[in-house]
Assembly symmetry: C2
Homo-oligomer: 218 residues x 2
């Protein structure tokens, strides 16, 4: 897989572990990070497929492409932790700006989106992409068809394309969804999906774009 190493920041969490597992199983070189190295080492061993564990900072330093999977409340501290190691790299933010206890209520941050906030915190030296906001982690962790599209946002089309390809490697349909600012749509949709799970007793609602889509030429 081209020698690229993917680093999952917050890789011991439900979403991070599931992404790491699916990517490693597909043949990608993946390392997972956590605040404590021991927790990451233990989770990596549990997940198998050649995964290795280390601190978040070490995972960011070792990786060529970085996927950040931490709760909104941990976003700022986590990005500060990895910032020295991400210059010139693609950083994929998956943060959904949920504000407990009202997680079924859309509460976008002042920056407009968690992705815009991440770009502000990491600076223009990184190529920011956002994705994986609407995927139920517990479904992604199983060997099943998740039944959810992955909307991929970013101002750099080539970087977006790499994340679309990663979604496909994970068995999901990845879709270009436009500029990074558009991430607000998918981030907000997560509160709707949590509302659906409760109101319609769904085990992990997701979204699918309908209509006949033609894969783009490039």
């Amino acid at each position: 897989m081209s020698g690229e190493t993917i680093g999952i920041i917050g890789g011991t969490g439900n979403l991070g572990a599931a992404i790491a597992w699916r990517l490693a199983r597909a043949g990608h070189a993946v390392v997972i990070g956590s605040r404590k190295a021991e927790a990451a080492v233990e989770k990596a061993a549990e997940l198998g497929h050649g995964l290795t564990g280390m601190t978040n900072a070490e995972a960011a330093a070792k990786a060529d492409l970085i996927i950040v999977t931490v709760p909104f409340s941990a976003q700022e501290a986590t990005l500060a932790d990895i910032k020295p190691h991400v210059a010139g790299k693609i950083v994929v933010d998956t943060t959904v700006p949920l504000v407990p206890p009202k997680v079924m209520r859309v509460q976008l941050p002042a920056e407009g989106s968690a992705a815009a906030r991440a770009q502000g915190l990491l600076g223009d030296g990184v190529t920011m992409v956002s994705a994986f906001h609407n995927v139920a982690a517990h479904k992604l962790a199983q060997d099943i068809d998740v039944g959810c599209d992955v909307l991929v946002f970013g101002d750099d089309k080539a970087a977006r394309g790499r994340v679309v390809a990663l979604a496909y490697a994970m068995g999901l349909r990845g879709l270009h969804a436009g500029a990074l600012v558009n991430s607000a749509a998918a981030e907000a949709m997560t509160s709707i999906l949590i509302f659906m799970n409760k109101t319609y007793r769904v085990d992990g609602a997701g979204i699918r774009i309908t209509g006949e889509l033609v894969p783009p030429v490039d």
Copy 2:
């Protein structure tokens, strides 16, 4: 159908006319409004199914439930026009806050959503609901399966339920999607769908909530 009259404000536009046609065809009493009465009368005759046309203010006065289908740029003036006639009624806003020329870019208004803006403009004397943001008007105007869910937002659950029922009457799956503030998710999603239409050459992309949904008890 219980004697209720539905008024479509901006009913000569693509979305308004399609909603009016589907509701009237399903047996609802529907009147359509426009800035100019003659245009509304002409469109009503064209659509058939017992539809009648008049000014927006007259349609709002005559209706028990009002659906506003005007472009974002016309929202403020239109709501001012109907405001004297909507006290105590359910007003369904369908406004998507697109800001040309960058309609593929999410640009939510300062109020957080067009629905919140509508509530602010009409005041607390109306029961605000928002819906129909993600439905392609040209598909809705045809006798086909549109293939798109209708997310319905509002702080009054019973009012939301009436709009969910109207969506079903139109041949669409209507879904409770939570508080009015959540409207931001569907409004923002429309820019994504326009992006999809261009990028993947789709003839009217829509969204579908995935997962096994159980209709709620009430």
